[in-house]
């Protein structure tokens, strides 16, 4: 099985390096094809590993070589394929295969075609390291690697200021979280003496609660960055500047879920610190509704989907925080399928509309882009959680978890979010595909995407439809070999049915409401005059709660200003000036006293006499004091000194 592990791991690397050879040459289609094939190979290997694990339940664990070894520290390049990582591997390789193929079409006209595949494959490689590593350091390699690739890919169109800005923002924000993660890793090392998962987890049982809490918090800070949890969430929406396949792969299906993966992977840790878990869950629930509200009004389809991703990540964290790790992982998987699909669909739309992203400028695209419309609608249905599509099984399960665990506030929030999710998903569906034709007036002549792109998307569509009811139980059985096998059943059947049906009804109502509101012919391109656009709530939401503004205003600018002050005022005027000042003291003293050497002999003689007389005075005072020391002492004692 090692062989397949290596293939799964290194095929993307080979792909990346292969594509890299052609980065400076003009577009070559075969680069894309070869890359896709190699990623597909990885997918196949992952599948073989999956069947192996499903069949034997045996974990594949091996060490490639030593990475760092010094003192007590020993970090190998070690890889483990167990139930958790194989899930991730499947998701990653599958989605990336599809995205690769899709990108052959999507990037067709881009001059950086070859480079794109190099980056994309490099990303897959990093992601594989992230999920397959058997220790925290290896995880961190992947963690940073995906960050790097994300930077490269967001800034792929580096001539665009907004793209490069977003790339840097994403990277830096992730770095902040990575610091937390690094500290978490240090804590693990100094408390357990190892960074291997198995060794560390085994040692956790003996640690005191406070230490574990700190470890949990710091690792979670790392997860927050990568998964764009509040308050480190702003980069995700901005990251939509990257090419759409990137958004689909990185910012929907894989990288952003790394945080969830980390929490799930560290389940043995979080199981010991339920208070941190509760915090994670609460934060997740908050982010779920927080992101959903922002998605309500946004006028950029990719951003809407990005907020939706954010919201769904909130769900996952809510589940993971509550201890339902397998549920979180399941939702992660299901979400990957339909969210990637949604993004790719959006990509088709964008392509058709020449990178126009405002749904208000589209309308009635369903006529020309039937395939895309169907796919996106179904993906949205899945996202909304309508039976029997994937979302129903994964998302409703999270609601149940919250309910069963008696976290009713979280439950309520999540339920509300479910309604909002349905609303905003179908808001854009309605705006894009239905209603009046608003784009022709703007000079767009949309067309359907290449057929092979649609075909490439189809596995995702199928999975989005069937993943729920076909995979849930086998998955449960597989993954609970490692994860706590808690089943979440509402004991009263009545309650169960009321809840399920109630939720479904609520969601469907939201969908109808969305259709009703946004299919009407009265929809116009907003111009800032309508009453709604001037309402406080709308402004708050469209400005993302003013958080980016606040960051810009209260963090970025002060940082910039402080830097300038530090350089111009402190470094030059204080630190450096004091050094030069010392030098100048000597120089100026020399300059000001050199006139002592007036060149006049008389002055020279005077100096000489003066020097002698000065010394003489000192000598005589000293001598007299010595001579009359007795008397002086008497007088002084008489004075009472």
């Amino acid at each position: 099985m090692e062989k397949y592990l290596y293939i799964a791991l290194f095929a993307p690397l080979v792909s990346s390096l292969f594509a890299a050879l052609f980065t400076t040459t003009p577009k070559k289609k075969f680069v894309g094809i070869v890359a896709s094939l190699l990623i597909f190979t990885a997918f196949v290997s992952s599948s073989i590993l999956l069947t192996h694990i499903l069949g034997t339940g045996e974990i594949v664990h091996l060490e490639l070589m030593t990475w760092m070894a010094t003192g007590n520290l020993y970090i190998p390049f070690g890889f483990v394929v167990d139930q958790i990582s194989v899930t991730m591997m499947m998701v990653v390789t599958l989605v990336s295969t599809i995205v690769h193929i899709y990108a052959i079409g999507y990037m067709d006209h881009d001059s950086g075609f070859n480079r794109f595949f190099s980056y994309l494959s490099a990303f897959v490689f990093s992601m594989m390291i992230l999920v397959m590593s058997d220790n925290f350091a290896g995880l961190f390699i992947g963690w940073e690697g995906v960050g790097l690739c994300s930077w490269l890919l967001i800034g792929f169109w580096f001539h665009k200021e907004s793209a490069t800005w977003a790339a840097n923002e994403a990277f830096i924000m992730n770095r902040i979280a990575d610091l937390g993660m690094l500290i978490g890793i240090f804590l693990v090392y100094w408390n357990t003496g190892t960074l291997q998962y198995d060794g560390a987890f085994a040692a956790f049982a003996n640690l005191d609660h406070a230490t574990l809490t700190w470890i949990g918090i710091f690792l979670f800070i790392g997860a927050m960055g990568k998964s764009a949890q509040f308050p480190l969430h702003t980069w995700l929406a901005d990251a939509m500047e990257g090419p759409t396949p990137v958004s689909a792969l990185i910012h929907a299906a894989t990288m952003v879920t790394a945080g969830v993966y980390l929490v799930v992977r560290s389940n043995e840790l979080y199981a010991l610190i339920p208070n941190v878990g509760l915090f994670i869950a609460s934060l997740g629930a908050f982010v779920a509704i927080f992101a959903a509200t922002m998605a309500l009004v946004n006028r950029d389809i990719k951003r809407v989907i990005a907020y939706s991703t954010l919201s769904q990540l909130g769900y996952m964290f809510a589940a993971a925080g509550l201890g339902a790790y397998w549920v979180a992982l399941f939702h992660l998987m299901a979400h990957a399928f339909f969210k990637a699909l949604l993004f790719l669909g959006a990509g088709n739309v964008m392509h058709a509309m020449h990178d126009e992203l405002d749904p208000f400028k589209m309308g009635a695209l369903g006529k020309t882009m039937k395939g895309t419309m169907i796919m996106m609608t179904l993906a949205s249905v899945a996202l909304a959680g309508i039976f029997p599509l994937a979302g129903f099984f994964s998302k409703d399960l999270i609601l149940e978890v919250a309910f069963v665990d008696h976290h009713f506030i979280i439950y309520t929030v999540l339920l509300l979010t479910a309604g909002l999710t349905a609303f905003y998903s179908f808001r854009i569906i309605a705006l894009i595909f239905h209603g009046e034709d608003r784009h022709t007036a703007l000079g767009h002549h949309p067309h359907e995407a290449y057929k092979f792109m649609l075909i490439a998307m189809s596995p995702l569509l199928i999975l989005a439809i069937i993943a729920g009811f076909t995979m849930k139980m086998p998955y449960f059985e597989m993954v609970t070999e490692l994860l706590p096998a808690t089943e979440y059943h509402i004991h009263s059947h009545l309650t169960y049915w009321i809840m399920t049906i109630g939720t479904q009804a609520f969601v469907i109502l939201s969908i109808f409401f969305a259709y009703k509101k946004y299919m009407s012919s009265a929809i116009k391109i907003p111009d800032g005059t309508s009453k709604m656009e001037n309402s406080f709530a709308y402004k708050l939401l469209i400005n993302q709660y003013y958080i980016p503004y606040a960051y810009e205003e209260y963090l970025v600018k002060p940082y910039k200003e402080l830097s300038t002050v530090l350089w111009e005022k402190v470094d030059q005027k204080v630190v450096d000036a004091s050094v030069d000042g010392i030098a100048h003291i000597f120089y100026n003293t020399g300059k000001n006293t050199r006139h002592m050497q007036s060149g006049n002999l008389s002055t020279m003689l005077k100096w000489m006499v003066a020097g002698t007389v000065a010394l003489l005075s000192l000598a005589v005072v000293f001598g007299l004091a010595a001579r009359y020391s007795g008397e002086i002492t008497t007088i002084l004692s008489g004075l009472g000194v």
Partner: protein
Amino acid sequence: MLDHILSILIFFPAFAGVMGFMINKESMRAYGTAVAAIEFALSLWLWFSFDNSVSGMQFMEHMALIPSFGINYILGVDGISLFIIIMASFFTMIGIASLSPAHSIKNMIITLLFLQMTMIGVFAALDAIVFYVFWELSLVPMLYLIGAWGGPLRIYASVKFFLYTFTGSLVMLVGMLFMAYFFYQATGVWSFAILDWYRLILPESFQLWLFAAFFFGFAIKVPMFPFHTWLPYAHGQAPTIGSVILAAVLLKMGTYAFIRFSLPLFPDASVFFMYPIAILAIIMIIYTAMVAYAQKDIKQVVAYSSVSHMGVIILGTFALNVEGISGSIFLMIAHGVVSGALFLLVGVIYDRRHTKLMSEFGGLAHVMPRYATIFGLMLMASVGMPLTINFVGEFLSLLGFYQQSHILTLLAGIAIVVGAIYMLTAFKKIFFGEVTNEKNRNLPDVSKRELLALIPLSIITVWLGIYPKPVLGPINNSVEAVVQLMHNKATSHEAKMRIPNVSGVVISKTAMKEGH
């Protein structure tokens, strides 16, 4: 020959430099490259013959110089100095090979060869005075390099560089003389041999003063905040080759000296001063990173980033445990490679445009994709991307220091954030966006000569990032010896606590795992 390989390594370049006066101007570059290549080969041979399993000094040489005053010519290498020596010879080689045409190139190459002598001398010396001789002597070629081939402020910069470091090292010299005097008092014999000094256990109050004296010299060389202001000038004005060697090797003298002198000689004082120095290091890391962010000149950015990274090295050194010190030594090499490469890269555009202002550039990724790629790689190494050489060092340094203080490490860790900020911003300014300046429209991409230097560096960056063991292993052995020595010598209770006792168990444990 192996008995004297260190002497050969030290004096061969100098001898060749003297001979170089006879070489024709046109063939000087070839001559210089050849000499440097031979030297590099010799240093590789040194590595090859180096016994990795020995933690002590190897290839020791001993010759009486002024025995009545305890000054002897003693050389030797261990895992700590070995790689810095190799790096010094490596950088001289690629530096000369990739030298861009300049006036009086003959003088320049001869200067570089002399510089090489002093650099290797510093790292191979095991006698404090011999060490000091090379330490001071290294200032002279550098002074000339900056002063003769530098930018418009070159004289100010070079004199500042010289005097600042000179002043610091004079204080250190007084410290050394004190140390020798204490040794004399204790044993009745004058000796400046470091290995002799290692055997001397000083009372803590003496240690504090001596530590401070040595610190002054080393800190300026490193340079530590607030003694760093000579560096931006030196880098800003120096020619590319000067900056490269300054950043790659000369700065390492300071940090190396901390490990060679301060820690083993004054373990208690090291513990005593650990927090103040760590705080200085953290100021260095964050403050200079912020200052770097405010720069307009790309070379200054790299220069300040150097200071920032040196902060991490200091922090790792004062972790006082094997992980931290090994990490800091590794980071010295890493920082040498990466910042050396960055300076070379800056030199590439400087050669083309004769400006280093970032505002003059923009969109270079369109024009010079290969250049952008290599720059990007080095940028990522500089910000500590895993699987690049820098990460290993930074990770270990921070990891090591975490044992001493959690909160300070957290603060120091901000390095990875602020580092990313200035580096990415600079990269963005230069490479991203549209080409706005017409002059940049037709810049040629990196030439073969430049690649000659950059490709090996890129390879090393990645290779040692993925597989640091060949370097880390020997370092580890020697560092364990140092830490053990410190532990044994420590007198105060706190120092005993802080400095781990590296027993033989650890080594066998690592070995066992390796076998597995």
